[in-house]
Symmetry: C2
Subunit: 299 residues, 2 copies
């Protein structure tokens, strides 16, 4: 198997009740590929400016992430600035500078085109569609998106949705997309559109994974101090898809495990600012927390 | 063991997106004792007016609920009127008529005073304290309350809290009481005040049960149509405490099972208006749904 991840690489300026960080490395592709790298060797597609830190590139390499699809362009890296309230789910975007992302139209490296597993992380849905068309015969395609695209490019989002097998969304996003308040109904509406799996991320309440004939619920790791919620959803997707790529199976049993590994990776991501926690994270810690997730719900 | 439940018996006028019902039987004691009756034979303490339906009294008897502590007074039964939004968690109280509840100062029947298990369901905290003082040597005391008392009688609520072993609250209530947004921190703050178990009810997200050395999460049953959310929390407490009374153990293992049975009973309560669903509910249905709760989280 091989997992190709398309998404953003960014500088994030983040304010949370526990502190502020200026221009630290972030982005959907960054979080997702790092989380996935604990299970498999993902190939990434994205763009950064000349200002992107060499240490991060080195860190990607150390984690055996394939960087053939990473373009380094003259100019500045995409920059997002946001603030979180006391409730980690309350996020305000203060600034977005597209920079090198503005005219990003990637051509997939030849080696990527035969990928059997593609994740379209959050970027412009038209770009998601374009990239997907360059993959020859993927066995499984997953996508994520955000409210911005659901509001401004509804048709494009729905068009991509019909072409994917797994759809990731948070509560707010799936409610907006399906115009349903009830999550089970919202999930079913997405399943009717094409995907066979929908994973609804619920922050501190965990996640709900729905297939055509099952519902699986995973709790969030009990966390007293969310240092930085940025990237939790992308890390969830990364852990989820990285595990599936390793398992080489999309059975219900593996989907359930994948969702737990997704939650495990998300629970680590929020323990420190940016991607810091991934720098020290070990497979042993991941396995140990997986065990804690089992205890959390066992009866 | 013997479980004494103190709370309200009421007429509820309810409007939900799925319909409206005028003056149907409700109340914290009603829901809780009916839910508990599937596991044990609860004794109730409460007051109703002459207008309270004889059929309901007969139904209580059929479910083997001990009614020695139920006063029937001249006048009208307590009446609550409320409306739910599309989101079942959005509840607006339109009217509250205290009626016979106004000067309710119960004296416990002699047989109740030796109870070893007391549940102070939602009523005025001063009344909760007064009744608790009439029980000789309870082995375990549990309490529930609502925002109204937390806001208007904070000191009384905190005084009762120090005397109980299990505290039930929903998310909003525990956040208000502890002034903490993070649920794990809020739960710990309650545990510091006396209780050894805190059960946080989270509606469609299930419930979180915290002890001094464990956290247990139970999901809500996936439900597409919440017909009437009234009494879900009281049914949760009833199933929880009824099971514990039957199990005759407060071990962590039994607390976990109790929380699941609480969720099971709550999931049935919301399937129909008022207490209707309890009229047809069977032990087989309860066991079967308990099994579904296992599948929901197994991995």
């Amino acid at each position: 198997m091989s997992l190709v991840i398309i998404g953003s690489l960014a500088f994030d300026t983040i304010e949370t009740p526990l502190g502020k960080r200026e221009k630290i490395v972030g982005g959907s592709c960054t979080y997702c590929s790092l989380a996935a790298s604990f299970f498999t060797q993902p190939k990434i597609v994205g763009v950064v400016g000349k200002d992107f830190p060499k240490e991060t590139i080195e860190f990607f390499k150390k984690r055996q992430i394939d960087l053939q699809g990473l373009e380094v362009k003259p100019g500045k890296t995409f920059h997002w600035e946001g603030r979180y309230g006391l409730d980690p789910n309350e996020r305000t975007t203060l600034k977005t500078e597209m920079n090198v992302f503005k005219n990003f139209r990637p051509k997939l490296p030849p080696e990527y085109r035969s990928a059997d597993f593609v994740f379209l992380a959050n970027i412009d849905p038209d770009l998601q569609e374009d990239i997907l068309s360059q993959v020859q015969k993927p066995k499984l395609v997953a996508m994520d998106t955000i409210n911005l695209w659901i509001e401004t490019k509804t048709d494009s989002v729905l068009r991509v949705l019909e072409k994917v097998n797994i759809f990731f969304a948070n509560e707010e996003e799936i409610k907006m997309l399906t115009r349903e308040i009830n999550l089970i109904k919202a999930g079913k509406k997405v399943l009717e559109r094409g995907p066979s799996i929908v994973a609804i991320k619920k922050g501190e309440h965990g996640a709900l994974v729905m297939g055509r004939n099952f519902v699986f619920g995973v709790l969030a790791h009990p966390c007293e101090d969310v240092v930085d919620p940025t990237g939790a959803g992308d890390s969830f997707a990364g852990g989820f898809l990285g595990y599936l790529d390793k398992a080489q199976s999309f059975s219900q049993k593996e989907i359930r495990k994948a969702a737990v590994f997704g939650s495990v990776l998300a629970s680590f991501a929020i323990e420190d600012f940016g991607i810091n926690r991934f720098k020290t994270l070990s497979s042993e810690e991941i396995e140990s927390r997986y065990g804690q997730f089992k205890k959390l719900v066992s009866f």
